[in-house]
């Protein structure tokens, strides 16, 4: 699903170069559920952004679902992201002007979900009775579940989650992470989850540590 080769990210500032990410090689198989952990500033979010095509690498390649992202023009990368990748954020980021259902439909390239399909999706996260509520009418846990649905309900094969439980309490975070993994497993989606919580990362079948992955942290290039 994802293949990264000789990936580097350098920030230029005041005439000085700062190498923040250097990953020699990384491969994530289709259907895998992977947690990426590391301390703050270890480059885990930067790696995630480059996997989604939102951030361009300074060097190297990122191939997602057989497509080399760096070869795509910006508009094509946007379209690819809409069709291929579901995004989950730490702060949920639901649009306040839309209902829960409309926020879920926001990530769909076209309006192809039937009412029944939407209802089943909301039932799977226990929110069938709240699908017409606005975000401010939902609890934090409910908002996060809506954010999950937004990422999962489309046909996008890859889910990228950036600290998806960072705004939740420990108990809710654990339950939410279990739900996320179950939903991905049932739907056969590939899940890459960035988290600083080692305990939550341990629930994933595969864990990657940035301290091992990112050569820039070792002083390598």
């Amino acid at each position: 699903m994802i293949t990264v080769q000789q990936l580097k990210k350098v920030y230029e500032s005041g005439g000085e170069s700062d190498l923040v990410l250097s990953v020699a090689s990384l491969h994530i198989k289709e259907g895998e559920r992977v947690a990426i952990t590391g301390t703050s500033g270890s480059g885990k979010s930067t790696l995630l952004h480059m996997m989604s095509g939102v951030m361009e690498p300074t060097e190297g390649s990122v191939v997602v679902a057989g497509t080399e992202l760096t070869s795509l023009r910006p508009a094509a990368r946007d379209a690819f992201r809409l069709a291929t990748i579901g995004y989950i954020f730490q702060d949920f980021h639901l649009l306040p002007s839309l209902t829960a259902e409309e926020n879920v439909r926001l990530a769909l390239p076209t309006e192809h979900l039937s009412d029944e399909q939407v209802n089943r999706a909301f039932q799977s996260v226990g929110l069938a009775h709240r699908r017409h509520a606005k975000p401010h009418e939902l609890s934090r846990g409910q908002q996060q579940r809506v954010a999950f649905l937004r990422a999962l309900v489309s046909e996008a094969p890859l889910i990228l989650a950036d600290e998806p439980t960072g705004s939740l309490d420990a108990k809710t975070a654990r339950a939410t992470m279990e739900l996320l993994q179950d939903l991905c497993r049932v739907r056969g989606k590939t899940l890459v989850c960035v988290t600083h919580d080692e305990a939550l990362a341990a629930t994933f079948p595969r864990q990657l540590r940035m301290e091992t992955l990112n050569d820039a942290l070792k002083g390598g290039a």
Binding site: S45, H49, S52, V54, M55, P74, A75, D78, A79, F80, R81, L82, A83, I85, Y87, F89, Q90, H93, L95, P96, S97, L98, E102, R105, L106, A107, L108, P109, E111, R150, D162
Partner: protein
């Protein structure tokens, strides 16, 4: 989610701010529509205001005042001319027909005018009058608008007042309604009509003097026998002391040019108002855009393209002005419907409030164009939003 649905939901979420901007557009549009309706009708009224009476003769003074009070029943006559002036015109070979008029009294704000009953036949042809025309002093026929406004019907009696509205009543001489005229679509609908001698009779009653059979008259309306004859008569009358003769059409054109100047001024004010409305929309969209920066970044992260975002903002601007102009067009016609009875009562101009004009569709198209144009700045800003701003910590 489609572009239209997302745009509509965003607009609804920010409706307070956008409603203000929309209201500005609606108000300006309503003003423009109302002015257009009123000025069109004023122009039409001015054109048909004098009928076949190409010349009007009266006391010397303002030509515009003479035409206004004779044909549009607006304002008061400045004086009278001797009856022998009419006799001279009546004997003249330069006229087809000429009718003298006396005025000075009113009922319930509507002028009472004495003239030959054939004035109507010459101007409007055969009359389908309800009741009968006036035959003797004290008989009155009333215009259709007077009948509606006052409730007078055939057989009713009333007392006229001296002057425009609140003068003393002539309680020595009652008038009896013998007929109600059909609607003519001119200022004649808002007048009461009686015999030429009513004014002399009233004056004699009041002053206890002997009644005159040929007293002073206010104006003479003339259908000339030809163009040369018209000019001859006009010249002849203007050489007499205390008398003026005025080409009705020429003076009506001068009235129209005043109306045109007024209309042009209103157009300039409206254009300026439109510019201000456009700026207010741009500011509203900028304010809304600033508050939606995170939403825009989210949409970009989810994979919505830059062009999707900018199209949404431009569509929003177009909808604000488009809806505003549609509401304004309806509003302008509603205002005209409310105001037209007042204008008709005061000036005898009947505005057809529900005539929709081709200009109005251009107004909507133009408004949408303005909305799209002023959306350009906020759309450019949204275009440059970096999606990473949403998630950078």
């Amino acid at each position: 989610m489609s572009l239209w649905r997302l745009t509509w939901k965003n607009m609804w979420h920010e409706r307070s701010l956008l409603l203000l901007a929309m209201s500005t557009v609606a108000l300006v549009t309503a003003l423009l529509v109302f002015v257009q309706l009123a000025s069109d009708e004023i122009e039409e009224s001015a054109k048909r205001g004098y009928g076949p009476y190409e010349l009007v003769i009266g006391h010397e003074g303002s030509p515009l005042s003479l035409v206004l009070h004779t044909f549009y029943h607006v304002g008061e006559p400045l004086g009278n001319v001797p009856y022998e002036v009419y006799e001279y015109v009546a004997r003249s070979p330069w006229k087809d027909v000429a009718y003298p008029m006396t005025r000075g009294d009113s009922y319930d704000g509507f002028p009472l005018i004495g003239t030959d009953v054939n004035y109507f036949k010459t101007r409007y042809g055969a009359l389908a009058i309800e009741g009968a025309t006036y035959e003797q002093t004290g008989d009155v026929v009333i215009g259709s608008h007077v009948a509606r406004a006052t409730g007078l019907t055939v057989g009713d009696t009333f007392y006229a007042s001296h002057g425009a509205a609140d003068g003393h009543a002539h309680d020595e001489m009652p008038f009896t309604v013998t007929g109600i005229l059909p609607p003519f679509g001119t200022a004649d609908d808002r007048a009461l009509w009686t015999t030429l001698d009513y004014a002399w009779h009233v004056h004699a009653e009041e002053s206890d003097e002997e009644e005159l059979t040929e007293g002073p008259i206010t104006s003479i309306v003339v259908v000339p026998s030809g163009l040369m004859e018209l000019q001859q008569l006009e010249q002849m009358m203007n050489e007499r002391d205390g008398v003026q003769a005025v080409y009705s059409g020429k003076t009506a054109s001068e009235l129209l040019s005043v109306v045109d100047q007024g209309r042009a001024f209103v157009y300039v004010v409206t254009v300026v108002s439109f510019v201000i409305a456009g700026l207010s929309i741009m500011l509203a969209l900028l304010a809304v855009g600033a508050s939606r920066a995170k939403d825009i970044a989210l949409l970009r992260l989810l994979g919505r393209s830059r062009s999707f975002i900018t199209r949404s903002i431009v569509l929003e601007g177009a909808l604000v002005t488009g809806i505003g102009s549609l509401v304004g067009i309806v509003g302008g016609h509603v205002i005209a419907a409310f105001v037209s009875p007042v204008i008709y009562d005061r000036f005898g101009i009947a505005i057809d409030a529900w005539t929709f004009q081709p200009m109005e569709s251009l107004l909507v198209i133009g408004s949408i164009g303005v909305g799209m144009l002023v959306s350009f700045v906020p759309a450019r800003r949204a275009y440059r939003v970096d999606p990473l701003t949403l998630i950078e910590r």
